[in-house]
């Protein structure tokens, strides 16, 4: 639990949060909460930790595709109520561009310009995407190539990602700890494991190392 955290802020976004827990978190100072051994306080800290962890991982794992030159969209299905602040994060990072995140049931739209954020909610990624297309006057089939300058970002990333793997350091336990499957699914990540092609040369190289 970090000192500069707003505990209530993260707690309020937890799916199991209730008014009683929030009132308790509001009443206590950070230092009191940090040292408290009360069962309920430990639960509050754990819940805030879970939310903060999910926010951090979604900021890292969600991938954005371009929709014309003025919008980006991506898949997000979080366990907690964090859609809005993750969407705001991407809007701040890409100022002047509409950012749409969502899944089958809900969607979040944010737009940031000169530090001011505007927000809207939708009823699912597909529906919001259609609305956005019509608002931006984008025809079907020509929306993916304007902002990314015609580059296949996913293909470039996959080739680059595969190149960074050192087989002699293989540590799948650590990989799974850092990239839990649950979070990869929440961000709609399609990260293919073991995609790096193993050649006979690699085999001989490994044998020499051993």
């Amino acid at each position: 639990m970090k000192r500069d955290w707003n505990l209530s802020f993260y707690l309020s976004m937890h799916r199991e949060c209730n008014e009683r827990l929030l009132a308790r978190a509001d009443r206590m100072e950070w230092s009191q909460m940090e040292l408290s051994q009360q069962k309920e306080d430990i639960r509050i800290k754990r819940m805030a930790d879970e939310v903060a962890g999910e926010v951090h991982r979604m900021k890292a794992f969600v991938r954005l595709s371009s929709l014309g030159s003025g919008a980006l969209y991506g898949y997000l299905k979080p366990r907690h109520r964090i859609g809005e602040i993750v969407c705001d994060h991407f809007a701040r990072r890409n100022q002047g561009v509409i950012v749409l995140l969502g899944n089958g049931r809900e969607s979040w739209i944010s737009y940031c310009r000169e530090g001011r954020i505007r927000r809207e909610r939708g009823n699912g990624l597909e529906e919001s995407l259609e609305k956005l297309k019509s608002a931006l006057q984008i025809e079907d089939g020509r929306h993916n190539d304007a902002v990314s300058d015609g580059l296949d970002a996913e293909g470039i990333w996959q080739a680059y990602y595969d190149s960074q793997y050192c087989p002699e350091r293989k540590n799948l336990a650590l990989y799974r700890r850092h990239m839990p499957r649950r979070d990869q699914e929440a961000a709609g990540l399609r990260l293919v494991q073991n995609k790096r092609e193993i050649t006979l040369d690699d085999f001989w190289q490994q044998k020499t190392v051993l």
């Binding site: 505007r118 580059l151 080739a159 350091r169 020499t208």
Partner: protein, 456 residues
Amino acid sequence: MLIRYKDMRLVNSLMVSLQKMALLAMECRFDSLGLGAAEKAARARLSVAGEAAEHAAESIEAAGQAAGSIPAGQMAGEVDKRKLTILGEGTRHDVCASTFSPRSRPLPGICHAFTQDGRCVSLFKTLYTNLCSHQCGYCSNSSGCKSKSRTFSYTPEELARITLSLYQGNYIEGLFLSSGAGRDEERITEKMIDTIRLLRLRHSFSGYIHLKILPGSSEYHIQEAMMLADRVSINLEAASASHMSEICSTKSYESDILQRQRYIRHFMAEIKSKEGVSILPAGQTTQMVVGAGSESDEEIFRRAVFEYDEIGVKRTYYSAFSPQRGTMLEKRHAQPLWRERRLYQMDWLYRIYGFEKDEIRCAFDDNGFLNNSDPKLAIARDCLDLPLDPNTASYPQLLRVPGIGPKSAGRILAWRKRQPIASKKELAALGVRIKRASPFLKINGWIDGTMEMWQA
């Protein structure tokens, strides 16, 4: 939904229709990536000179066309995947993946993915070219490497486009640009600087940039790089000049590397004192290859301490040597990864825990090597003569107990202001790893002396 934001009313007032957002987005579709108009204006004022940048951009375009390595059609659409792979592989032994830069407001580093070796992939870490005139025995890009089949090179424009594309798709936090020295390191350095200048000035790229300074680069180029990047680094690779000569015959340890590091430190201080502006917010770092030469862990550690104290590097990274096919050191055995890990632990004890240099030396054996065990435990066995009472021990004393870190030591101090610590259970609740700590602690007058503490 439970909404607790104080500014929720303001949030609601900012909810606008999608049509309005679309209009606003279309209005600023010609703005560059990542920055608002106000920030861009400020950046333009800070930029060295707009005209000079334009001129540089023109010369880059000319150079890109002259290079002729990328067919025109390929530049427009696809990027050569083989090139991406080879130039990406060239940097995979560079360990630094930090993206923390307090440029505007401190943000925690974000890891956008992890490879299956558990390492973070947060930056587009690539070589500018894998052509190199140096003969480093450990490196697969060196001129002496027999297995190197093809050489590739990016153009600044191409590299900038790839970086922007990956950054916008949220695949990366920024660019880590290293390179082989090519035939002339000055020319390659110029190209690397052209790339980051394009990103920063033409595309207003606000992401993180880590630039490798090539050994032997001129002071002028180093200054230019420092003005544009968040972090620069020059790899030491070896712990001393004599060990460097074992693994590389073409680099001068003193003039090519150490002198450049001193220059970076000097230039940072000069700008700060003259103009009151901090440049290079993430500072400079360095890296050593562990086990390519015959240096001991103590020699490596002494060099790291020198780097922290004299050069002022933010971090020293260690990379365990693994033999690369076709290189001069191909027959040398790979170093165990635990050696790298133990060196990091020593590094941590020195930087974060504030251990003294002499105190830390207890962890090395007679030949100057570390064992595969926690160095903090070895130091505690040597230096902690009597068990400590957590109710009276000072913060530095608590940090010297295995199983107690900065966080738990801070909690102990805060807890005992209210009430004394009376049991191991209380300590465990404060985050202390009791199994490791209890042999060195005296709680309520009781000493938990076990064989663990006294065994050799």
